[in-house]
Structure formats: structure tokens, C-alpha cells
């Protein structure tokens, strides 16, 4: 395929079609817009560099890009820089912590993810939110909330079945 030959126009094509979806993923994990945009740029540079590792036999290109984006965003939240940033804003928003929480709800709400997630049973939407929106790995989610790893997997499975219906995937 074209991208494998590292044709710049094919990367532009990917950017134009998928940057918003990937940025949606990244900016739910990273709340700071500037840093999220840096991560998005890094993600596309990585896609460009590592496209030869993508194997169409093993799945869709979007899935591969999504995982690059998700991992990059998760890595970044683990880095010191963001931790500092978090601490700063924690101090700043000490008084308005409740308002900030409200805004966070609003941010997901405005984009219509809540619309589909709210139709899921609480335990399922919880798993999706933590994995997708907070950027937890399965293992972290299991440890943090004391849910067996197998249960995390089956709940995500049920949630995906329900989303499939809602999003009308055939």
C-alpha cells in the first residue's frame, strides 16, 4: 500500500480522516489541550515511522492507529511533566474543584458519547469510561477497583455488544 512507501500524501489522507477520532481518544485521557495536541502530532510521526510494522492480516488500520494513540497518551500521563502540570492545576482549582468536575462531565456530554454510554447498564458504562476516557489499562482497572481481571474483560465484551447495537454495526 501507498503509506508503506511512506508517501506523504497518504499520511495527509490519514490525518484528514482520522485525526479527529484519535484526538478524541487522546484528549479524554489528557485534559490539557496543548499537551494533547503535542501527543497527536507524536502519534502521527510514530504512525509514519512504524507503518512497516502494521500487519493488515492482524486487524484494521484504524485499530492499529488507535492503539498507537492510546498508548502514547497513557505513556504521557505517566510522565513527570504531566504530573507537575496536574499538581499545579490541582492547586489552582482547589476551590473550584466541584465546578471542574462539572465541566468534565460536560466535555464528554457535548460530543455525544454519553448519549450512547448512558444507555448501557452502569457497570458496563463504568468499564468503558475508565478504559476509554480515563486511559486505564485492564490490569490497572482491575487492581484499582478490586474487580477480577476476567470480569473486566467480560463486562467490556457486554458493553461492546451493546454499543454494536446502538451504533448499528453489521
Amino acid at each position: 500500500m501507498k503509506l508503506k512507501a511512506r508517501d506523504k500524501s497518504s499520511l495527509e489522507y490519514l490525518y484528514d480522516n482520522y485525526s479527529a477520532a484519535l484526538f478524541g481518544v487522546i484528549s479524554r485521557i489528557i485534559r490539557n489541550e496543548k499537551i494533547a495536541e503535542e501527543v497527536l502530532q507524536d502519534v502521527f510521526l510514530k504512525i509514519w515511522d512504524r507503518i512497516s510494522f502494521y500487519d493488515p492480516e492482524k486487524g484494521r488500520l484504524f485499530t492499529w492507529m488507535l492503539n498507537v494513540a492510546r498508548n502514547q497518551a497513557i505513556d504521557r500521563t505517566r510522565s513527570r511533566e504531566i504530573n507537575n502540570d496536574k499538581k499545579t492545576s490541582e492547586l489552582e482549582s482547589f476551590v473550584s474543584a466541584i465546578e471542574a468536575r462539572g465541566n468534565e462531565e460536560l466535555a464528554t456530554d457535548a460530543i455525544g458519547l454519553d448519549e450512547v454510554l448512558n444507555n448501557l447498564p452502569e457497570e458496563q458504562s463504568f468499564v468503558v469510561r475508565q478504559l476509554y476516557i480515563k486511559g486505564y489499562t485492564h490490569r490497572e482497572l482491575a487492581d484499582e477497583f478490586d474487580i477480577p481481571l476476567g470480569t473486566v474483560k467480560t463486562r467490556l465484551r457486554l458493553a461492546m455488544m451493546e454499543l454494536r447495537k446502538q451504533l448499528d454495526i453489521k
Partner: protein, 261 residues
């Protein structure tokens, strides 16, 4: 385990999100090659995930695209530089590489610097705000301690002034130290006045009203008034802003006499 059971464990979802160990991943991949049902299920999961992500899409800022493309151009140039055995060409390539590296490093350090100075700026602003808040709170604490010591002091008499027919609900107190002549006013309830008028406190000394100062509503705690000696009663009237030499008795709001000792 049959295929349906295998699917229902959620192993494919975990595979799609890259959450499996390398061994588990290889296992899933070999099963996928054998089972068309699994491949179909994987397709549905991936499409659901993509549709979900598209649903939550957020458009990044315009600058990202152009920044990305110009970065790629930079990378390309670095790779296009032809290197052959000629020493001048080699030197050129080296200088290009060094120039690229240097500009990358300066960009990198500039960004680090920007981030650090921004963080520092935030912290300085915060500590200034905290210091300000602290001194405000400290001042209020000082005032409250002072107020409390006056209210609890045996040297001060408390004269409760009750509302007159003009303002039946109004109430205020005077704390008066007859030895030092200090007078403090505490408002319990008095209505707000227009901009043009002000309350004026009077001490009744030997049957005559003596000006003890004007005040507005809500001073927050005790209000220091003019020193007074030999008072037998205190009263408050409404006067034009700035006060008057003699009271307008018709506007009297509250009045109270010294408790008999």
C-alpha cells in the same frame, strides 16, 4: 471451550485494545487463522470501536496539521541528503546533520524552557495569591480577637439599643468603657440606607445629645466610635451623609440606656 464461549470471555476485545500478553496474543492470532467465525467477530468489534471513536471525535487545532507536515519535510530532507565518498559532500552531509540536530535540540530546550517558565509563573502567581489571602484572613482574625476581648472585658458596659416605632425590628449595642471613654458599636439588625443618608450615634450626656460619630451598614464586627464620657444613654438617628451637629429626633431608630449598677 467452543467458539461462542471463547468469544464471550472478552478475549477478542482485549486483543483489539492490545491488552494481552505476547503469548496470549499469539494464541488468539493462531485461532483467528483457523476460525472464520472469530475473524467475523473481530471485524465487528473493530468496526464498533472505530464507530465509537468517530462518535467521540474532537477536531484538533488547525496548527497541528501544518506543524506535522513541516516536521515530515524536515525528516525527508535529512534522508535525501546524498552521501558519497567525496569529502566535501560528506562534510556537507555532516553539517546538515549537525544543523538538524542543533535546531532540534534548541527547539527541544526552548520548549522545555517555556514549559518550566510557565509552571514557575503559575506557582509565583499562586503564592502571591496565597500570601494575600493569608494576610486578609490574619487581619480579620486580629480584628475578631480584638472584638472578643472588648466584648468579654469587665471594663466595658454593654448598652443594648432597641428599635423605636420607626424601626421596631432594629437592634444594636454599644460597648462603652466609662474610664477610658472608648465606644464600640455592634449592629445586630438595621435596615440599609440610601446613598445620601448615614446613621449617626448620639450619647446622651446630662440630658443633651453628643455626637459619637456616623456609620454605614455592615462594618463586620465592632465599629470604633468617638470617645464619650458621662453618658447615660445612647441612640441612633438617620442624618444626611456626614452627620449633623444636632440630631433629628423624628428619625430615631434605636435607643438604650445605661444599665443601673
Amino acid at each position: 471451550m467452543n467458539i461462542e464461549e471463547y468469544i464471550s470471555t472478552g478475549v477478542l476485545e482485549a486483543y483489539v485494545l492490545g491488552e494481552l500478553t505476547p503469548t496470549q496474543r499469539l494464541d488468539v492470532e493462531s485461532k483467528l487463522r483457523q476460525e472464520p467465525t472469530l475473524r467475523e467477530e473481530l471485524r465487528l468489534i473493530e468496526q464498533t470501536l472505530e464507530a465509537f471513536a468517530q462518535r467521540g471525535a474532537i477536531k484538533p487545532g488547525e496548527g497541528v496539521r501544518s506543524a506535522l507536515l513541516s516536521k515530515l519535510d524536515g525528516q525527508k530532507e535529512a534522508k535525501v541528503v546524498p552521501i558519497n565518498s567525496q569529502p566535501t559532500k560528506l562534510a556537507m552531509a555532516a553539517s546538515v546533520a549537525i544543523a538538524l540536530l542543533t535546531s532540534y535540540l534548541s527547539y527541544y530546550y526552548y520548549r522545555q524552557y517555556q514549559q518550566t517558565s510557565q509552571t514557575l509563573g503559575n506557582l509565583v502567581a499562586q503564592s502571591q495569591q496565597l500570601a494575600q489571602d493569608y494576610s486578609v484572613v490574619n487581619e480579620r482574625l486580629d480584628k475578631m480577637q480584638n472584638d472578643l476581648s472588648i466584648m468579654g472585658s469587665a471594663a466595658f458596659s454593654r448598652i443594648v439599643m432597641k428599635g423605636t416605632d420607626n424601626a421596631p425590628d432594629a437592634m444594636a449595642s454599644v460597648y462603652w468603657n466609662s474610664a477610658t471613654q472608648e465606644v464600640y458599636l455592634s449592629i445586630h439588625q438595621m435596615r440599609a440606607l440610601t446613598q445620601e443618608s448615614q446613621y449617626q450615634l448620639w450619647a446622651i450626656v446630662e440630658g443633651k445629645p453628643v455626637n459619637a460619630g456616623v456609620f454605614d451598614m455592615d462594618p463586620g464586627g465592632l465599629l470604633a466610635m468617638k470617645p464619650v464620657s458621662g453618658a447615660s444613654a445612647f441612640a441612633v438617628t438617620v442624618e444626611p451623609r456626614g452627620g449633623m451637629p444636632t440630631p433629628n429626633m423624628a428619625t430615631m431608630q434605636v435607643i438604650g440606656t445605661m444599665p443601673k449598677t
